[in-house]
């Protein structure tokens, strides 16, 4: 074994990994020698990339995602691809075609989703850092449920080139780790302009976390502490906010009225975009073969019905319906208006506060199989999706336990103020030491 080679054969009791690279090379640099896991919807050249779906079983991308190139350039040891909800569609990683991931804090519970595998790999001590993706909370939710740190960057700060698209206008790749410091270092590596992503901005991240929040103004939205939030969770988060006040911040009550319809807008937009993004899976250029003996339409439908999970098919149908003739105005167009209102609401609040704080999730991790009704599952995203609609940065940092399970404190910031969001999380984390 050479100096820049290592072995990765973890005992994966949580089904966190879909693919592990037994022998891993790494270089020197910011992440020199550090084991990093990559969520399985991020393309890795020569390594199977499935999005936890049967329809991509065996797919070997001929190219690396931009962030993977950056990881390699920083010397990271990419040790494997992590489990997720199929195509990012889910809040628990139970929608994986290859079995759910278990929560290391309680293996009878879900790790959250859709980046559940990445979160479990970190929480379970298999890796120090991982890449996840966040479309409606998919980094922050598993971070909260597993008791780790996860950041959803400002939209456009991290290149999406190579991220197998679920909802293009909402998602970002983001860093996950045990500590805010680790998340910040990983963010240094992956943020920045990529000319192959037309929605990419030239905003590198070169920050070292700073714990001074003297004079910080924190907005506390009433909608984040309403009746839909578990009282124990709310209490834990309130206490964490109190800690921030002790560290020098002030809190200001505020309101985000557009939260009333934010979730609906989110689900309309993401299903519409997904219905289009997933139409290319036909078994012709990759994936399980279409039956060339059948006619095109028959073969196409057959491959998709057999290899897409139920939730994926449901969302494709919702999106197809919402975009179909006669319904565009009622759904997609309205959702865009709703989205603009959410942005305006945040902008208005941020005129008077520097960050907004609240729980990441309305509950702690549910038991495996507990939520079987799709709508009730969607409703758990209520506190995370507004951030994606507005494109602003948000982090989840562990702030205690309720019912014996981790609770996440969510800090949201102005566009491009990922650094400040990190600082607040860092201040809290350091303040607890």
């Amino acid at each position: 074994m050479g100096d820049n080679e290592c072995c990765f054969e973890p005992e994966d009791r949580y089904n966190a990994f879909l693919t592990t690279c037994k022998k891993v090379t790494h270089g020197s640099g910011k992440l020199g020698g550090i084991a990093v896991a990559v969520k399985d919807n991020i393309s890795t050249q020569g390594i199977e990339t499935t999005c936890a779906s049967k329809i991509l079983k065996g797919y070997i991308p001929p190219y690396d995602a931009h962030v993977v190139q950056l990881l390699k350039g920083s010397g990271a040891a990419i040790v494997g691809k992590t489990n997720m909800d199929e195509f990012g569609m889910g809040t628990t990683t139970e929608n994986s075609a290859f079995g759910p991931t278990l929560n290391p804090c309680d293996t009878g519970r879900v790790p959250g989703g859709s980046s559940g595998g990445s979160a479990a790999a970190i929480a379970g001590g298999m890796v120090r850092m991982a890449l996840g993706t966040d479309t409606g909370g998919s980094i922050r939710c598993p971070a909260a449920f597993c008791g780790i740190v996860g950041l959803k960057p400002t939209y456009g700060r991290v290149s999406r080139y190579g991220l197998i698209a679920y909802a293009n206008s909402l998602e970002q790749i983001g860093p996950m780790g045990r500590t805010v410091d680790d998340v910040s270092v990983l963010m240094q590596v992956i943020a920045g302009y990529d000319r192959r992503d037309s929605t990419s901005y030239d905003r590198p991240y070169a920050h070292t976390p700073c714990a001074d929040i003297q004079g910080l103004r924190i907005g506390i939205p009433q909608e984040y502490f309403g009746s839909g939030v578990n009282p124990e969770v709310a209490a834990v988060v309130n206490k964490a906010v109190g800690r921030l006040e002790e560290l020098g911040a002030t809190t200001i009550p505020c309101s985000i009225p557009s939260m009333e319809y934010a979730l609906a807008a989110y689900y309309v937009i993401c299903t519409c975009e997904a219905s289009s993004n997933l139409a290319r899976f036909d078994g012709v250029r990759y994936g399980p073969a279409a039956d060339a003996k059948k006619s095109w339409h028959e073969a196409y439908q057959e491959v998709r019905r057999a290899n897409f999970g139920t939730e994926v098919r449901r969302r494709i149908m919702l999106g197809t319906f919402a975009l179909s003739s006669g319904y565009y105005g009622k759904y997609y167009a309205k959702a865009q208006v709703a989205r603009e209102n959410v942005k305006k609401d945040f902008a208005r609040v941020f005129a008077d506060v520097d960050v907004i704080a609240g729980p990441t999730m309305p509950t702690v991790a549910f038991r495996l199989g507990e939520k079987s009704d799709p709508l009730s599952m969607y409703l758990t995203d209520i506190l995370t999706v507004p951030v994606n609609l507005a494109g602003i940065p948000a982090i989840s940092v562990p702030c205690g336990t309720a019912e014996g399970m981790p609770v996440g404190l969510q800090i949201m910031g102005r566009p491009w103020e990922d650094e400040r969001v990190i600082d607040v999380a860092y201040a809290y984390e350091q303040g607890c030491i």
């Binding site: 807008a265 309309v268 219905s275 994936g287 279409a290 439908q301 897409f308 319906f321 208006v337 969607y378």
Partner: protein, 89 residues
């Protein structure tokens, strides 16, 4: 609200298919979600005005294409460099 027939039709339109066994539950869940979406009917306002990031373009320069073996690597069936697909009418 959508009928079972309409839901079946949407499954056809989206080419994801639906088993007759699932149709009942699917329709019920589908309609619950659509009903939830109705809150959007009350939304009023304007859509976004493009303020930043427009005219994102690249120069007309060529870059190497993939070698054909790479193109065909994940392909299930090929013939003489072409990719084989089921027949279209």
């Amino acid at each position: 609200m959508a009928t079972e027939q309409e839901v079946y039709h949407i499954a056809e339109l989206a080419d994801v298919g639906i088993n007759t066994g699932e149709l009942g539950t699917f329709t019920h869940q589908f309609n619950a979600i659509l009903e939830y979406f109705d809150v959007l009917d009350r939304v009023s306002g304007d859509t976004a005005v493009t303020r930043d990031l427009c005219n994102v373009m690249r120069e007309d320069e060529t870059e190497p294409s993939l070698p054909r073996e790479e193109v065909l690597r994940n392909v299930a069936a090929q013939e003489d460099g072409f990719i084989k697909a089921p027949r279209v009418m």
